[in-house]
């Protein structure tokens, strides 16, 4: 049955399509293939999610080699929704990408762009789906290397420096991860995640185990841009091609957060990592610092892409904050924010892609008068911006609700207040954009972006509102994941 092989197909389809793009050579054909593949992966991920919800965790043995010796793909309540997020963003970004890439990338490089894009997608999906620690590292490298290329293709020359910065930081992160995985293998003799989770009980509190945890945590934190390891992110997002920014901002850091959850909760076990080690407190402090420092820095940016890149660092802080609360409610808040922020940031960077198509690198000055010239784009920016603030009726509100509730459950009313106060910083930077769009006189003639770009962007904007009002799907999945993670070691 084909459906039995869905976990493998989830990764294999984009992985094989990538070299096909190179063979195809023609930009439009490669785009068509990439688009079809994105839709296919989206369909597969939905099928997997439904299957997980119906029958529980899926274990798929690659080449039928039994775990823990063979590589196992494992889809459970935690990564199934993540697969849907990544593939959904890919599927929405693809139609948008055609016009945007045509404007930003030289035509002769198009097929290479799509090939790299598919590799990146395959890598991210692979990280999310695999149940093997070394395999995680392999896919992480596939996605990272292709990400460096995607960022470096930006038409601004600073894109190269940004890609190089990320290359250095990302490589350090990946090295740390592989060292951590190596130490785990050294002590337990296994690389299978589920097997690791069992065997690690024998080597608790041994120094190499602590070292493995430290290496993995720092390495993953680099990839997820946890404050203060976020320095690669603002430039990378600001100068990458619009399409790459939209896709990566909505997915790449989210996959890294997933790794943090997987290693922190499933492998090492939350009672060990967070109760006997001060990880929770560290994460809490760094998250709060991210909320305030990154949001404040965002306020003072004049490049709008950079502004929202810093906003991403702050928003990632909300996700890690939810994790650091170590309760089902807090985790639900963190995980649901992972989706919600993916939707909102994906929408914002796509809309900024529309702006970039008409004005070039979008700065606050270049947004002047956009409200009249590009009404759909600016209205979308306002709604997605409101979602970043957490206004009720948008997805951001749902995340804030759970985060504040989680803080109150722990009796940390000061944290609840801090979460809400930090939202007000978002009001300031979002309103800089609003005022630029609606209160300044337009400098020149600008047209609305083509529908092929505006419609996909608005799909995400609409999703921001829909999932802000009807949360049964998102909160349901996040709560399942949170319960699975919290229950993993009990």
């Amino acid at each position: 049955m084909l459906t039995d092989h869905l976990p493998a197909l989830q990764v294999v389809v984009p992985l094989i399509a990538a070299p096909l793009c190179v063979l195809l050579r023609r930009g439009w054909a490669a785009w068509l293939l990439a688009f079809a593949v994105s839709l296919a992966t989206f369909a597969i991920s939905i099928a997997l999610l439904l299957q997980v919800q119906a029958t529980g965790t899926i274990s798929y043995l690659l080449g039928s080699w039994a775990a823990p010796w063979g590589i196992e793909y494992r889809v459970d309540a935690v990564n199934a929704p993540l697969l849907v997020l990544v593939t959904a963003i890919a599927a929405v970004v693809m139609p948008f990408a055609r016009a945007s890439v045509a404007a930003e990338i030289p035509a002769e490089q198009h097929y290479l762009f799509w090939a790299t894009w598919l590799l990146c997608l395959a890598g991210l999906l692979g990280v999310a789906i695999t149940g093997d620690a070394f395999n995680i590292f392999v896919f992480l490298e596939i996605s990272s290397l292709s990400t460096y290329v995607l960022i470096g293709l930006g038409r601004n020359r600073r894109a190269l420096v940004a890609a190089y910065q990320y290359l250095i930081m990302g490589t350090i992160g990946a090295t740390f991860i592989v060292i951590g995985v190596g130490l785990l293998y050294l002590m337990t003799g296994t690389l299978n995640i589920a097997d690791l989770a069992v065997r690690i009980g024998d080597v608790r509190q041994v120094r190499p185990e602590l070292a493995a945890l430290a290496f993995l945590t720092v390495g993953i934190s680099l990839k997820l841009a946890l404050f203060p390891l976020h320095l690669w992110l603002p430039n990378a997002y600001a100068y990458a091609p619009s399409v790459a920014t939209a896709f990566l901002a909505a997915t790449a850091t989210k996959v890294a957060v997933y790794l943090l959850l997987r290693f922190g909760f499933t492998v090492f076990g939350q009672s060990h990592v967070f109760a006997s080690l001060p990880m929770g407190r560290m994460l809490l402090v760094l998250s709060i610092a991210a909320l305030f420092v990154a949001s404040t820095v965002a306020i003072f940016q004049s490049d709008v892409k950079r502004m929202f890149a810093y906003s991403s660092v702050a928003q990632i802080g909300y996700i890690t904050l939810g994790i650091s609360m170590l309760s089902v409610t807090g985790l639900t808040g963190g995980i649901v924010h992972l989706f919600n922020h993916g939707l909102a940031k994906g929408a914002i960077f796509m809309l900024l892609g529309c702006v970039a198509l008409r004005t070039g690198q979008p700065s606050i000055e270049r947004l002047a008068g956009l409200g009249r010239r590009m009404p759909l784009t600016s209205a979308g920016l306002v709604i997605a911006g409101l979602s970043l603030i957490g206004v009720p009726g948008t997805v951001g509100f749902v995340s804030k609700w759970y985060l504040v509730l989680g803080a109150l459950e722990r009796g940390w009313w000061w944290l609840a207040a801090l979460v809400l106060l930090s939202s007000l910083l978002a009001v300031v930077y979002v309103w800089r954009v609003v005022e630029a769009c609606y209160f300044r006189e337009p400098s020149g003639e600008l047209q609305e972006a083509p529908l092929s770009m505006v419609v996909p962007a608005w799909l995400l904007v609409a999703a921001c509102v829909y999932f802000g009002l009807d949360t049964s799907i998102t909160v349901g999945a996040a709560a399942d994941a949170a319960r699975a993670l919290m229950g993993a070691v009990q």
Partner: protein, 486 residues
């Protein structure tokens, strides 16, 4: 459930109206017809709910389930009924007025103006009929956001600055304080329902109740308790119809309405009566009443004076609710309606004076009553109602308010009310006196008559309503009485 008895229709009508107004934007006459028709239809829909509510029914509608165990739902109770009646009724009058005002002053972006107005009214209906705190909060924020483009309508640097104050205070308080209070309530009680007798009884210590009350009272920034009142005078840069309906009726009343609703249905009057940790509230309200009146007295700009008068009058409602006696809570509900019709009359008059005579300052108003008798008579009626002189509606609510204060021997509150009555007289009577009995300062060379007819009709109607409410207060009284009945 038939369509007529469904409170969701009251939201749908202005929301659909907004869409139609936007579509009709190119044809001003059609657009304004749609506005008027929507307003009239909304009032009719709200009226159909009235007999049910008076009969003790509580029409409800479930919109959708937003969070597990938390739905967006509507439920019409007497206080919401009263608020919805006032807001939707005055929207008709205000639309007539708007048409005159916007055309006479050749305002820009009129379509956006009417669309935002309709959305603001839909949000107001959502607030009035909200069945729980989450629903209330959702529409509360929607009202803030939909009125922001109206406040900044002129797009000038001044409007932009005022918009920042407006949004900064209203969003800051609602997200920073009100949302925290709501989540905290949910955490303590596991429900956000509006229940007769309150939901917090027995769930928290007195100190926590006091802290929650502070979060609610200052979190509902639209009630303009000092020191969080600055957004209201800032909002006066908006065109006058906005100041009239939104910043004398819908937005500010949404604030005090939420205050009364929270005190009655979340805290429960009996639960917190006599609690030491809530005794600060009447004090803050009293200080706001007196201080705002003094600022009003010193303001030469007419709209600014009216705005500070509103700040002061809003705290009447807060004070009345905070006295925590059945009679004073009734007064709070009544004053929401009474102040609405009176203050909208005053704003209508101010806008008429601006349109006809281009005068904005109190000191310029000498002799204006002879040129604009209808406007100034209406203004006088509104002013008398503010002071509380019979036969105007203001007398009724003030009567119950004083009765409430005296019934529990809260003489300080009574003294505040008396003092503010004197202050009200001090800042309104000179205007009326100058308008009718002083010669114009410019020697009368700038000849002008009354404002355009639609504006006159509107302000005459609300002035008449101010008097009519004195003689026929049955419906508001009945609704206010039912409020505590459950």
């Amino acid at each position: 459930m038939t369509l007529a008895g469904d409170p969701a229709v009251a939201l749908a009508v202005p929301a659909l109206g907004a869409v139609l107004i936007a579509l009709a934007g190119r044809w001003p006459n059609l657009r304004e017809t749609v506005t008027l028709a929507t307003a009239a239809l909304l009032f009719a829909v709200v009226l159909t709910l009235l007999p049910q509510v008076l009969a003790g029914e509580r029409p409800a509608a479930l919109l959708l389930t937003m969070l597990p165990g938390l739905a967006l739902e509507l439920r019409v109770e007497p206080l919401g009924m009263l608020f919805a009646l006032v807001a939707s009724g005055l929207w008709i009058v205000n639309s007539v007025y708007s048409i005159g005002y916007m055309r006479a002053n050749a305002e820009q972006h009129q379509t956006r103006f009417y669309v935002c107005f309709a959305i603001a009214l839909a949000s107001t209906m959502g607030i009035a009929f909200a069945g729980n705190l989450l629903t209330l909060f959702l529409f509360y924020e929607a009202l803030t956001l939909s009125t922001y483009p109206l406040v900044t309508h002129h797009g000038t640097p001044e409007a932009k600055r005022a918009g920042r104050v407006y949004l900064g205070i209203l969003l800051g308080t609602s997200i920073g304080l009100l949302l925290l209070a709501i989540v905290w309530t949910w955490h303590l009680t596991g429900t956000l329902e509006f229940r007769a007798g309150g939901i917090l009884a027995g769930t928290a210590s007195d100190a926590v109740i006091g802290a929650l009350l502070a979060l609610y009272m200052f979190g509902i920034g639209k009630a303009a308790l000092m020191p969080l009142h600055r957004w209201l005078p800032a909002a006066m840069v908006a065109p006058t119809p906005v100041s009239a309906l939104l910043h004398a009726v819908a937005v500010v009343k949404a604030g005090v309405f939420s205050v009364v609703k929270v005190i009655v249905y979340v805290f429960g009057v009996e639960t917190i009566a006599g609690m030491a940790s809530v005794e600060w509230l009447p004090v803050v309200a009293g200080i706001t009443i007196v201080t705002a009146s003094i600022i009003a007295l010193r303001s030469d700009n007419l709209k600014r004076r009216l705005a500070y008068s509103t700040v002061s009058q809003l705290s009447y409602v807060v004070l009345a609710a905070a006295l925590l006696t059945p009679v004073s809570v009734m007064a709070a509900a009544l004053h929401i309606a009474v102040h609405a019709v009176s203050k909208i009359t005053l704003f209508f008059a101010a806008g008429a004076i601006y349109t006809a005579a281009h005068k904005t300052e109190v000191s310029q108003l000498a002799g204006v009553g002879r040129r604009m008798p209808v406007t100034m008579i209406a203004f006088t009626i509104g002013a008398l109602s503010m002071i509380g002189v019979p036969p105007t509606a203001g007398f009724i609510s003030k009567w119950y308010l004083l009765a409430g204060a005296m019934s529990t021997q809260q003489f300080a509150a009574a003294a505040v009310i008396v003092a503010s009555t004197l202050l009200n007289a001090a800042y309104f009577v000179p205007i009326v006196h100058a308008a009718f009995f002083k010669a114009p300062a410019d020697g009368g060379h700038h000849a002008h008559g009354e404002a355009p007819a639609p504006m006159l009709v509107a302000l005459a109607l609300t002035a008449a309503a101010t008097v009519a409410l004195f003689f026929w207060p049955q419906v508001p009284l009945q609704l206010a009485r039912d409020l505590l009945g459950g």
